[in-house]
């Protein structure tokens, strides 16, 4: 992990707009000014959902974001600048902390003999035939798949006996940053889900009102899976705590790759395929000069000192050295 060594002493104001990342951005700023005392910050932390819009209005420089940008956000930025926002991966999401960009875990009932799946099989289970899929805001034909790739019975996953002809009942989240990530990572960006997909929203958030969201919280979902022998769903380890009769499934990126169980270690080292990330977005086109003060700040975040802030915060996880170097290289292009 590289140390932060200032390439230049920089001056000015860096305007941040988006997620505070639970105090992480402020800690990065406090540590950064120890190296760069002539920098000040103007922050407005409204949350991840507003992050990219702050850039699109040209009123802010950096957009810290606890999730990937979404379709309409890519479009808004494109309207303002004619290019896509530049995405810098600055940290790894939590393993099991709700609200902290947690890793998405596949759950089945504990009686289910299934132990592992590939990402392609997940697409077959949760997705549906499609003519293409949207990548950021571009419709691409290489995201297409036919109905023959649908996986609708447990027998299609190799289960025998009473399981073989039983239909697979799918569960997961309705529209959220988590479901967008699932769509991007598993379904090539498509929002065509298995027609039997049962949708829920995160318990204890503004999306679930106990008076009108009866049985639709994420805890309800996991309890429903625990009662459904033929169910499969995706959710968070933190949300599943205390719910019996659930089993986690190991995942492989491709057939032939090792199957990785979700764990703190496999999320920390990012080998678990549904590990998530936190980001900073900005207006930068590779090959063009990046504002030196922004570059210095981002190189600080992508350094031993910057990643130490994540370790101390204790919920998000530091990046691996490989990803830090990869992200630094992207900023140097």
């Amino acid at each position: 992990m590289p140390d932060y060594v200032p390439a230049h002493q920089v001056t000015g104001v860096i305007r941040n707009y988006g997620s505070a990342l639970v105090g992480v951005v402020k800690s990065w700023e406090d540590e950064f000014v120890k190296f760069q005392p002539r920098i000040t910050f103007n922050d407005k932390f409204a949350g991840s959902d507003a992050a990219v819009s702050g850039l699109a209005t040209k009123e802010f420089d950096l957009a810290p974001n606890g999730r990937e940008a979404q379709f309409i956000e890519y479009l808004s930025f494109f309207e303002a600048y004619g290019v896509e926002p530049f995405e810098v991966t600055v940290g790894t999401g939590a393993y099991d902390v709700p609200g902290r960009t947690w890793a998405e875990v596949i759950f089945v009932n504990k009686d289910n003999p299934l132990t592992h799946l590939t990402m392609k099989q997940l697409d077959g289970i949760f997705g549906e035939a499609r003519t293409g899929a949207v990548d950021h805001f571009l419709m691409k034909s290489d995201g297409a798949r036919s109905a023959k790739d649908d996986i609708r019975t447990w027998g299609q996953l190799g289960l025998k006996g009473e399981w073989a002809n039983k239909p697979i009942q799918t569960y997961g989240y309705a529209v959220t940053g988590m479901s967008i990530f699932f769509q991007q990572r598993v379904m090539h960006g498509s929002d065509k889900w298995n027609p039997n997909y049962k949708e829920y929203a995160e318990t204890d958030t503004k999306m679930v009102d106990p008076k009108i969201s009866h049985g639709l919280g994420s805890r309800d979902m996991l309890i429903d899976i625990s009662h459904d022998k033929y169910g499969i769903g995706w959710g968070g380890v933190g949300q599943a705590k205390g719910i019996p009769n659930l089993k986690m499934i190991a995942l492989a990126q491709h057939e032939g790759d090792p199957y990785i169980m979700p764990s703190l270690e496999s999320v920390r080292d990012r080998t678990y395929p549904l590990t998530r990330s936190i980001f900073i977005y900005l207006n930068h086109v590779p090959g063009h000069e990046l504002d030196p003060k922004l570059k210095e700040f981002l190189f600080f975040v992508l350094s031993k000192q910057g990643q130490e802030v994540l370790r101390k915060q204790g919920e998000y996880l530091p990046l691996t050295p490989e990803v830090v170097l990869q992200q630094r290289a992207r900023l140097e292009q």
Partner: protein, 176 residues
Amino acid sequence: MTKMKNAQARLRQSSFACWMVVVSLAADIGIGQGQSQYELARTGPVVLRIWGQANETTGNGTLLQMLTRLEAAYSGLNPAVHFANELHGNDSALGGLYVGPADLVFMTREPSYIELDEYQQMIQGQTPLQIAVMRGSPSARGSTSPLVFVLNRGDPATSITLPQLKSLARKEVSSL
């Protein structure tokens, strides 16, 4: 009042009749729900900053003409009011409102779920005030045309009900 009625008449006569949404702060300039007559609510120099969809480069020049006419008609009634347009498109419009640089947003579609969520994150507990100001064009491409259902010409079907359409598109729904 006559000038405003004339402007309304010109709007009605225009070949372009787009259904749009104006969001927030409309009350400040005297437009209220169910109100058909113009009343001036402000005096003194005012710059109204409008963001949204009326950008020539998006292929919607007619809409820009329409907005310009509306602004000119309004300024004619109230010379103290000036307009500053930042018309990048629909998708960056609402951000202008909740981030701060816009007073009014001119959109040719409804705000999406994520845009409303962003607005509510920035302006706690609030939803934008949304006012329909025109209908979409029945035929002009890119002008909020009504949705039309198209069949192969060999298909004998001639009509369909909304419940039938819903059935055609139906999936299992757990959380409407």
